[in-house]
Amino acid sequence: MSALVKDRIAKVLVYLVLIIAALAVVFPVYYALAGSIMPTRDLIKAPPALVPSGIHPGNFADVFHAIPLGRQYLNSVVVAGIITVAQVLTSLLAAYAFVFLPMKWRKAVFGLFLATLMIPWEAIIIPNYKTISNAHLANTYFALVLPFLASAFGTFMLRQSFLQFPMELRDAAKIDGSGHLRFLWRVVVPVSRPTIAAIAVYSFLSAWNQYFWPLLVTDDPKMQTLQLGMSQLNNSESADPRLILAGVACSVLPTLLLVVFGQKFIVKGLTSGAVK
């Protein structure tokens, strides 16, 4: 067998494996999208249809009727948005203090920040739940965002980035003793834009995907986030695959488009700093 033929066969095999893998990975995505426009008779039959027998856009209207999907969308955007902005701001300030400002016990405080990174949120979720419910904050945006307004991870990333600044830049902050905020805003922020973007992507996605915490602190469907809305569709007594798939299709469409068209940006956001 010539090398050429061997190469050909290898290539065909590679294609075959990739195609099978791609079909397997894409199938649930396809099924969610196809199922979202299927009429009931396609889904409630055994075996169910693979291809919609007709287009049934009424599913979307029905799912918006079944749960306050629009409101939950808004909740998710508001909550993830507030958390993202807040984490960037508090991390900027904290990292700035660690790098540009003189302070006592710098190491100890920074060590404390890092230590918080090691504590799994689920291990302290019960006392936090009690704090929120004692404060009568259940079913409010406060409950959903308060614990996440600061980020040790973001602070750490920004600090690493600030430390890369040339000495002269860091000294400039000290020469001009006043106007730290101006210096932070005019000089530090523009230079750190890539890191800030990375933190923002990371914060937003983490907040967007949250499930356990919103489950504990909200039960009013109008205050619940999209993720809870999805699982509510599945859990309710009247669970209907038609509505479930229409709901999921609505909820993932934006992120789906982001993954297809904004891959590079996401990769940068999620891996810079963490790897290297």
Partner: protein, 321 residues
Amino acid sequence: MTALDGASHDADATLAVARGGGVRRRSALLSRDHGLAWLFLLPSLAIFAIFILYPLVQSFVLSTHGSDIFGNSSRFVGLKHFREMFSDSGFYKVLGTTAMFTVMTVIPGVLGALALVLLMESRIRGIRIFRSAFALPFAFSAASASVIFAVIYNPAVGIANGMLAHFGTKPVGWLTDPKWVLLSVVVVQVWMTLGYNVLVLSAGVAAIPGDIIEAARLDGATGWRLHRSVVMPLLSPQLFFLTVVSTINSLQAFASIRILAPEGGPGGKAMTLVYAIYNKGFENGNSDLGTASAYAIVLLFIVLVLTAIQFGVLERKVFYR
């Protein structure tokens, strides 16, 4: 996350120089800056104090108290919850399930993504389509992915059993059979992480300088040998990173279990540690926050140990580099 030291020394050094300057105006400014530093740290410190440090202490307090029927913490019971937990065979089952779930999701998730990324390196056409396809699951949150799979796994009208029927195979109780439920949840978890893992590894491969690969090829390295001896070592930071991230994600998996296997599924076969916290503390009207807190403390210790190991590995890697 890298080491804690870093350049804070430098800042201290410049600080020392500044102090040495001795100009009065300067030191006044400096002390003001000291205050400013704390002011800047205040928002973060306040959040950490209220939502991490206080609850950390409170977890231990709760774990030594009983609770009334309204879920309020009641009288002090000492180590009763821990004694009961350690003498309960269910607890060890939960630990075993957690370990199994983690291994079953992390290894296929990382190695599967690696295999796909390496296959895509074979310089074939249509790579971008494949890469996009493999990255798609990243768009799904744990909740939305699980909900889709719940429909797919449906015992009577699910497409999974529908396809099995096409091939003349008997239906499987994906979520109703104790033998299958853990695997069924694992599949969802692996599917979810695959997208992210492919994205990260693809980025890693793209970052490998082309001349290194070319040089290796000129040396006669092809196919598997090229991958094993050149590409994989260069991907090791990404692989390590993914292993750490996936391990933590798997340990914290919650939405997939609540949606696909409430109460840990049939036979409690999918009851992981994090889920057990929810189960004891909240699920089905349970309000045994003492026991739930005892489980939470076990989770805390496991994660601390894993973090220590992770730092150990990292340090060794840094050393060899």
